[in-house]
Amino acid sequence: MNSWKADEALYARHWKGRERHYDIVKEASIAFLVVLLLSVGLAFLFSSPDTPSVTIQAWSKAQPAGFVDVALSELNDTSQSATYGQPYNTGSGSVQFLGSISIQRALGVRYPLNTAQDFVLNPLQTLPSEPQLASALRTYQQATVRQQDRWVNTYSKTVSKEKLSSSFVPRFVQGSGPVGELMTGLLAMAQSGALDAQLVSHSTFYTTDYTKPILFIGDSFAAQGNASYWGKIVASEHLTGSQWGVMNETGSWPGQPWLWLYTMWYQISPMSTSGNADILVISIMTVLTVALLLVPVIPGLRRIPERVPVYRLIWRNYYRQNQE
């Protein structure tokens, strides 16, 4: 094996041997037609998946108690979104560190989120004036934070005894102040579909940002796991992280098999149990991607193909002709 430098000089020289006829325009046209026919054929054969979106309306109808349970955690700021941290708020529940460094924290709050206001109180204030609800809202907002927490916790204890699919939502629980009234109003709003619209539209007519409703629905998965309305669907479709879900697709269609390596790291310790799994996996994939990018300049790595005779098969005609 020559030195790399000598080989580089050799391989940079132009070919002066025999040439074969090559029609680049014809080749490109045929390739386009082949893929076009292939795509049309596969589309006719297999179509494509289109599972409808999950709505807060469908969730709150299927699991009224489950919905109220999550709404309560939004109200007393204990849900995953409420405690997430940057870029939504200043919590620390989902802030990840690489060693002692957190890029996530350093970049600050970008999309401010106050779950009590954004998910519960503001939507309730948009409802047509009902004396009982308006009074409950006023009472709740005028109370101290400590009092609010006490009310919500008391109400939560009653709701948490119910099955997620239970439709039992008490209007009043001793020691929970106006929370029962608020939850009754919010559940009715959710089941009518008004909460879906409210969370996306907020104060503007046009909207394309679904950050709030997805985070709200997602909090049910974070709190109730595969028993939640969303969790049941994603687990049955093998879409959760522990099921290599990043690669998978709904139904029996192929998904993104090119993400196999990225997904694989999540299944391996320490990533499988770490609270910093995402940043660890991204760091590993960044190093591997840079290595792939720099293969031509990494000694050892760049010469691997010379040691594995796959190339002898690819250029077998050339080597055979030389022997002859």
């Binding site: 580089e8 391989y11 940079a12 020289r13 132009h14 070919w15 041997g17 025999r18 074969r20 006829h21 680049i24 080749e27 490109a28 390739a31 386009f32 082949v34 893929v35 795509s39 596969l42 589309a43 006719f44 297999f46 179509s47 494509s48 998946p49 289109d50 599972t51 979106s53 999950v54 870029p87 989902s94 890029i103 950050t211 997805i214 629905i217 997602g218 969303w230 099921q243 290599w244 690669m247 697709e249 709904t250 139904g251 029996s252 192929p254 993104q256 098999p257 090119w258 196999w260 995402d278 991204i282 991607t289 792939l292 293969v295 193909p305 190339y311 250029w315 005609n317 050339y318 080597y319």
Partner: protein, 308 residues
Amino acid sequence: MSFEVQGSLFAAIVNLNHPDYYVHWGFILISLANLIVIIVLVALFVLAIGLPFLNVKLLPKRQARTVTVAPSTTGADDEEPVGGWTTKTRQLGLKYLPPDKLLPDGQPAYVASWVYVFGVLTIGALAVAILSGLILAIEGPSWWHLSSLGHFVNSMHLWSVECFMGFMTVHLWAKFWMAAWRGKRWLTWMTGVVAFMVSIFEAFTGYLSQTNFDSQWIAFQAKDALNSAGIGSIINPLNFGQALMLHIALVPIILVVIVGVHVMFVRVRGVVPPLDVRPVDLEDASVSAGLVVQVPASKVAQAEEVAR
């Protein structure tokens, strides 16, 4: 055409709308559909290497007369150059990418394997993905949920993307085992790897733009990874509008430019010679460096005729 007729015309022949089978082996869990895709790609790679190539028509050996020219004058400008950026750009173009290099009608005889077709198949798949994506873009992001024709175009878009990623993967494997970065072709390799990474991001934004269950769930799952690296402060996967704009405007432009640069590098540097190539099959270093250029005898005779 009524909606019902369209529906029956574009309905899938094979129904995949049911839970998939999963292969569980140790910690590995993979859907049958994904496994089939991977097996097909490996099979394509093996077949491309193993199957005999077409009977190629060898060109008559080109007779060349070696003439020495200054590297800065390619002979392309017959008249005295006027100067300026335009002239210099043209001169550079003609020096590094003359018409017969840009649109060659011959390749070295060793370029005779099915494995070479995966690069152009990747570009073909990109073209089909762009065309089907353009139709979806014209009709708007909700069209394909409501129209069976729209669903069919979406299916074409999906399968052209699967083909695109698949062909690109086989192309990448082939180029790795050919050590195609040799001979100062490292930029060709690197632009190819960047194109692969940008394609993964483009596919990701596509999934976010579907406005269905997939989009919701993928956005919810992806946010944690993006947020952890600080990327979430710039790209919010829960913001459908941003994902759609990235998918149909910014990222495709970047991808097409990178693929274009990649192809240009291939044309400028030429296809990498075989490992252990005989030095006698290659030009002298001075010719390859452009200090001496070889001009086909026919062209020299033609130039002499014009001069007379």
